[in-house]
């Protein structure tokens, strides 16, 4: 299968003539999951195919890859037709699903991001998936544990991992070499503290190249800071919504972020960390694994990736989006809907999807596939991300389950890194806001889960 080894860069080139994806589709036999064998046109179905409405959020390259995945599924069998519809960003999709549920125009399957699916669970609009998973013969234990477990409430699966990413440490190998550092990421933050002054490049009073860069305000800072709290031994919150923003160790982690900018002065906040990294304005940064493809395509230097640095502990969280079936889906459409979800997250599909997008392969057995092994050899930076995956854990409830929690924490972090405000005071405010915002969630949860 030639398309499995195709690199992102080559594929991008292929798309310039606009026929890349189509050409690929033309020369590929559809991959079928499990028992559903590719049915030829000759074997026409007796009954009419079921149409499943599927809403999703991917644009650009990722959107084209998902379109291709749906196309392969539709061609692989003749019982189910997936009607794939793009609905805007994660936020817009979720809001539209909310409105559509009221209007009775909701889809059967929807892509929901890590911070949104829980809201639909709370409103009891998601279908429990275990029976359907069993009926499709899907082995839930084959999914990466940290990914599948994030969508489980009281032992029931509601949210199946699909486009999942994690934070990763990226470094510019040229700047590493110029500073005389070994070609690897720092084991610990303490080690990076020693390295950072050598990586820093000043032009008079002005910082030309930062050793490290934090995102500013944009939603990802609360996501990227999540593992740092764990590395220090702190956390945002417990699963039962007890907030821990003001814990000594969480504040210490926040203090570290502040110090990197305002005391050690080798890091700075930036509007676009990725653009800074590609432009050589920062020697290293934590970014999503999903950014790797773009960096690979646009950076003019060699880059390396590494596990996140440790402090007291190792810590790394998951992120991204998964698939869910809405509970209004009529009974006769539930099994076909699950058939697609099983297909989209099958080892073969997840290998195809991850190689073309940079999202993580969600299945353990996908890693043993020959196409994945070859890919690792040509793309060691990606292997690092996959190796780190089993060590990740689901995020704290404060960011993903509290309404707007991501923004509440993110804005607080921005006040620390940009405005150099007192960490303990800011976190105390953040904690108070989180607690009041969490109150209705806790009550709703008590009503549902007892």
């Amino acid at each position: 299968m030639p398309e499995k080894t195709i690199s992102r860069r080559t594929l991008l080139k292929g798309m310039t003539v606009g026929a890349g994806v189509l050409a690929l589709a033309g020369c590929t036999a559809p991959v079928a999951p499990g028992p559903a064998a590719p049915a030829g046109d000759a074997a026409a179905p007796a009954q009419e195919a079921v149409t499943i409405l599927f809403w999703s959020s991917f644009t650009g390259k990722n959107g084209e890859t998902e379109t291709e995945l749906v196309k392969r599924f539709n061609e692989s069998q003749s019982d189910v037709v997936i009607d794939y519809q793009f609905q805007g960003s994660y936020e817009e999709t979720a809001q539209k699903v909310t409105a559509a549920l009221q209007a009775g125009t909701a889809p059967d399957i929807s892509l929901l991001s890590d911070v949104w699916w829980f809201k639909f669970y709370l409103n009891q609009t998601l279908l429990p998936l275990d029976d359907l998973l069993n009926a499709q013969g899907v082995d839930v234990n084959d999914y990466q544990d940290s990914l599948i477990n994030e969508g489980v409430r009281q032992g029931v699966h509601y949210w199946i991992p699909f486009a999942r990413s994690t934070p990763l440490f990226y470094y510019n190998k040229e700047k590493w070499a110029a500073a005389g550092l070994p070609d690897r990421g720092p084991e610990t933050w303490d080690e990076f503290m020693e390295w950072a002054p050598n990586l820093l490049e000043m032009e008079g009073e002005e910082m030309k190249t930062a050793a490290f860069t934090h995102p500013d305000g944009a939603s990802y800072i609360a996501w990227l800071f999540q593992p740092v709290t764990w590395q220090w031994g702190g956390k945002y919150s417990d699963p039962d919504f007890t907030m821990h923003m003001t814990d000594e160790l969480t504040v210490a982690a926040g203090q570290f972020y502040k110090d990197t900018v305002h005391t050690y002065k080798w890091a700075r906040p930036s509007k676009d960390v990725q653009a800074d990294f590609i432009g050589g304005l920062t020697a290293a940064a934590m970014m999503s694994t999903g950014s790797m493809g773009g960096i690979k395509a646009n950076a003019t230097f060699e880059f390396g990736t590494a596990f996140l640095p440790k402090k007291e502990y190792f810590g790394c969280c998951t992120g991204g989006a998964g698939l869910a079936i809405l509970s209004r889906t009529p009974a006769e459409k539930q099994a076909p809907a699950m058939q697609y979800i099983a297909y989209a997250s099958s080892p073969e599909s997840t290998a195809f999807w991850s190689q073309n997008t940079g999202y993580m392969p969600v299945r353990k057995s996908a890693l043993d596939l020959p196409e994945m092994q070859t890919y690792f050899e040509t793309y060691p930076q990606f292997k690092t991300a996959v190796d780190q995956l089993p060590l990740t854990q689901p995020q704290d409830s404060a960011r993903v389950f509290v309404p707007n929690g991501d923004q509440i924490i993110g804005k607080g972090l921005e006040r620390i890194t940009v405005q150099a405000e007192e960490v303990a005071a800011v976190f105390a405010e953040v904690q108070a806001t989180l607690e009041s915002e969490a109150q209705p969630v806790v009550e709703a949860l008590r009503a549902i889960e007892g």
Binding site: M15, T16, V17, G18, A19, W55, S57, F58, T59, G60, K61, N62, G63, E64, Q85, F86, Q87, G88, S89, Y90, E92, K96, A99, A100, Q102, A103, G104, T105, S165, Q274, A275, I278, G279, G280, L281, S288, G290, S291, G293, G294, I295, A297, N298, A299, T300, G320, T357, G358
Partner: protein, 303 residues
Amino acid sequence: MASTTNLAAETKPAPIKTNKPTTTHWVGQQRSLIGRVAAYLGLVLCVLLIGLPVYWMISGAFKTPQEIYSVPPTWIPTQPTLASFPKAWNSAPFGRYYINSFVVTLFGSGFEVFFAVTSAYAFAFLRFPGKRYIFLLLLAALMVPVQVTILPNYLTVARLSWINTYQGIIIPGASVAYGAFLLRQYYRTLPTEIMDAARVDGAGHIRTLVSVVTPLAKPAIVSFALLSIVAKWNEFLWPLIVTNTKEMRVLPIGIYWLMVEEGTIDWGVVMAGTIFVVLPVLIVFLYAQRYIVDGIAAGAVKG
């Protein structure tokens, strides 16, 4: 040229000054040299403020991805390339989006202007009970933010089974209080003598509206039509919400499709796509601008 670029590129142009030709003329006569220099400086500043992003968009469309991300940024593309244009065009069905945008803008703005012209006439020249209160209601409608009406509109449209249809996109925005208000204010400045003359000659309301008021108010109507066209053409949220399939989407959603949620955006392609969107509006504006100027001149002679 600079001023046309600015209005065409802006999504929400500033309110048009419809009725000030004479006053600016007078001020111009008395303006001192210092005042004139200051005015020109201000003008240059405006052109830079508005023109730079436009220039950045155009130059970005001709750069390679590597050059876009290079630091320091380059003003003029060092290796100009046309590659972004076919790439953008082929990433999404832009041909279809063009048709949809044309249909939605033509009918959307057509209805909006028609309702504005007629309802403003009623408010300005007709006598009917409760007129003042109805006008207050209109003003109140002017104050309601669009975001508030989105969900109710969605539910209504869904109950009418208009989701994913042209009427679903067009009808909720077919009549907007803004136009009626704007034109009513303009109509009231028209000389009553002309109205009276028309009535003496036996013109009814329809005739007065078509043959007297509309030609006199042409600059205001054309300006409002332009605003309406730009707004409909650039509208993103409502068409996104009310349509589901690729076949019903409009141009701004096409640009959105070129962006990437969690990854590196190919800005060259996005800029090329933006040029697709801006170009038709620019042409419409250049064409329609004549009428604004004509109208103002004609009015000045009469007044």
